[in-house]
């Protein structure tokens, strides 16, 4: 045979998917069994490495690695502001610091207030994430734990947060886009040729 053996036609269909009716009984049963789909569980929060070590005296190294990972993630994807005032408005006085990147642009970030360490710690998998808190009364994060993307996790007095596996995932770095449209100018020029109102392929 000189052709593709088989193609899953259902995966190739592009028309809107038809409504798939689910019998009520099954839907109810699924609801009672699973509840709201959520894999989050209670995880430990530490304010400092020493907090972690005093709770886990035989896991000094794990505590340090988890802290280091959280710091790295906070540098990469923590909240960034273009002015100190904007940072203070969200996170409070004496809770923000100025930084500058390689291209000498300055920005402001809140200090990491703690880090959450996965209870999987004893499985030798060091999942951790930075946490922030706000001292500004007008901020939604006031007195609460906040993750890098602004999700709130209850009182900052608590040493426990409910974290799901998505909360532990490293966040992609958001860039500062300076311009758009630097590709595509050639076709804009070429497509004027012939006065076609719509275009066919620019491939070949």
């Amino acid at each position: 045979m000189k052709r593709t053996q088989s193609i899953d036609l259902s995966s190739m269909r592009k028309s809107p998917k038809y409504f798939a009716f689910k019998p009520l009984a099954i839907a109810v049963a699924a609801g009672t069994l699973l509840g709201c789909s959520d894999d989050s569980q209670e995880e430990q929060v530490y304010r400092t490495v020493n907090d972690c070590i005093s709770d886990n005296p035989d896991q000094t190294e794990q505590c340090e690695i988890a802290y280091k990972q959280a710091i790295e993630e906070s540098v990469k994807s923590g909240p960034k502001y273009s002015s100190m005032a904007a940072c203070i408005a969200d996170f409070g006085e004496n809770n923000c610091n100025g930084y500058s990147n390689q291209s000498n642009q300055s920005f402001f970030m809140p200090f990491m207030a703690g880090y959450v360490v996965s209870s999987l710690l004893d499985n030798r998998r060091y999942r951790s994430a930075p946490l922030y808190t706000s001292y500004s009364r007008s901020s939604p994060a006031y007195g609460k734990w906040s993750s890098t993307d602004g999700n709130l996790f209850g009182s900052a007095n608590s040493k426990k947060v409910r974290f799901g596996s998505n909360d532990f995932k490293p966040k992609p770095i958001v860039r500062r886009t300076m311009s758009r449209g630097g590709f595509g100018s050639t076709i804009a020029a070429k497509s004027r040729f012939g006065g076609k109102s719509s275009r066919s392929s620019w491939g070949g």
């Binding site: 052709r3 300076m178 630097g182 595509g184 004027r192 040729f193 012939g194």
Partner: protein
């Protein structure tokens, strides 16, 4: 090899809508035409198309190897000097390529002749890999074609396998698919490739090429301001290397499909270089650069722009007289001259074979027909069988 009339599948237009084949009719003319099909025998496919395609491909790769190491040739190929190193490095690093399509003149006997190599942005992929495959399936099931009918078309299978390999080279990375705005055909082609990549387990996103952004730290960005680290672009290198973001390409760290070295392989200057390296090869047509034309004794030839798409700006010269020509916006970068070897005619139709490669392996064919001697973007796509 012959052309047979066959009745159309009664509901194929509904089926096209269901599968999202939106460009089967363009400018009020049929593009997909299933009122007839081409029939090949297995020897014609294997000896005359499949084997020469893979051999020609290896020959093209050796041209690339020569050109990247030769500044004069880089100039001849109209590669901007600012990107010589970038392209050479991409070749030296053996950056992965996905696919290409060679256009062959072949009428069922003798040697297939290479017209050109669409190695950077080939289209008519969906029609080939999926739609004509479905046509064969339907027509065999309807009893209109012999049940032993086969097709030279392992394109979809090979694309999915190729993407599976690439996924291992890019663990956890998102592959961005892009093409220009306002073309259903290109959007459809890119969507098909995305479907193949998803089937291979790759995380995919789409962005129009015009929407790509550039960040303060020299990354290309999507509309969410996230870095584009891996990108398929249905947009030719020869354009990208001359546009506003051309300088940013080298700093961006983006991996491209097709890779930068395809700028050489998709270039029409490839044809005279092939003839220089492999003179009188049975699957090649004598081809020359402008300055070599006088000493070539070529009397019947085709003049093609170094950069052009879909048969634009081509003229056919016979005994010094221009007999046919197509217009278009190309030709500023010079021309090449190729011995005139007319397309085979089947009735009133001139027929061109597109021979596909994925991962250096021949992967199937597409057949296109035109009432004109120069196949252009409005030529019709015809299905084929092997029996």
């Amino acid at each position: 090899m012959f052309r047979s009339i066959i009745s159309e599948r009664p509901h194929w237009r509904d089926s096209a809508r269901e599968f999202g084949f939106t460009y089967h009719t363009m400018y009020g003319e049929a593009y997909w035409d299933e009122s007839a099909y081409y029939q090949f025998n297995l020897q014609q496919i294997e000896n005359d198309i499949e084997a020469p395609t893979e051999e020609l491909h290896q020959m093209c790769l050796s041209v690339v190897d020569k050109v990247v190491n030769d500044q004069q040739l880089m100039e001849r190929f109209q590669i901007p000097q600012t990107h010589w190193d970038y392209i050479r490095t991409s070749w030296m690093n053996k950056e992965s390529s996905l696919y290409s399509r060679m256009d062959l003149a072949y009428g069922g006997s003798g040697h297939a002749k290479l017209y050109e190599n669409n190695a950077d942005t080939p289209t008519s992929l969906y029609e080939t890999g999926f739609w004509q495959w479905l046509w064969l399936q339907d027509q065999v099931n309807a009893g209109k074609l012999h049940r032993k009918s086969d097709q030279f078309n392992s394109l979809q299978e090979k694309l999915v396998n190729r993407f599976s390999q690439m996924r291992l080279e890019h663990p956890g990375e998102t592959l961005y698919f892009s093409c220009c705005k306002d073309t259903d055909e290109d959007r459809g082609t890119v969507q098909y490739l995305e479907d193949c990549a998803v089937a291979a387990g790759i995380d995919c996103k789409f962005i129009y090429i015009e929407d790509v952004g550039l960040s303060a730290d020299d990354c290309f960005t999507d509309l969410d301001n996230l870095k584009i680290s891996w990108m398929f672009k249905l947009y030719p290198w020869e354009f990208m290397l001359r546009e506003e973001y051309s300088e940013a390409i080298t700093q961006s760290g983006t991996s491209w499909l097709e890779p930068p070295w395809k700028a050489i392989m998709s270039n029409k200057a490839l044809m005279p270089m092939l003839w220089k390296l492999f003179p009188n090869h049975p699957n090649l047509l004598a081809s020359y650069f402008e300055e070599d034309l006088k000493n070539s004794q070529l009397t019947h030839y085709v003049k093609k722009p170094i950069f052009a798409r879909e048969g634009a700006n081509i003229s056919i010269v016979i005994d010094g007289e221009e007999r046919y020509s197509s217009d278009g916006p190309y030709g500023d970068e010079g021309f090449i001259y190729q011995a005139y070897s007319p397309l085979p005619a089947f009735g009133d139709n001139f027929t061109l074979i597109g021979s596909w490669l994925v991962n250096d392996k021949a992967a199937g064919i597409s057949v296109r027909e035109d009432k004109n001697r120069i196949t252009q973007d409005l030529s019709r796509y015809m299905p084929h069988i092997i029996l």
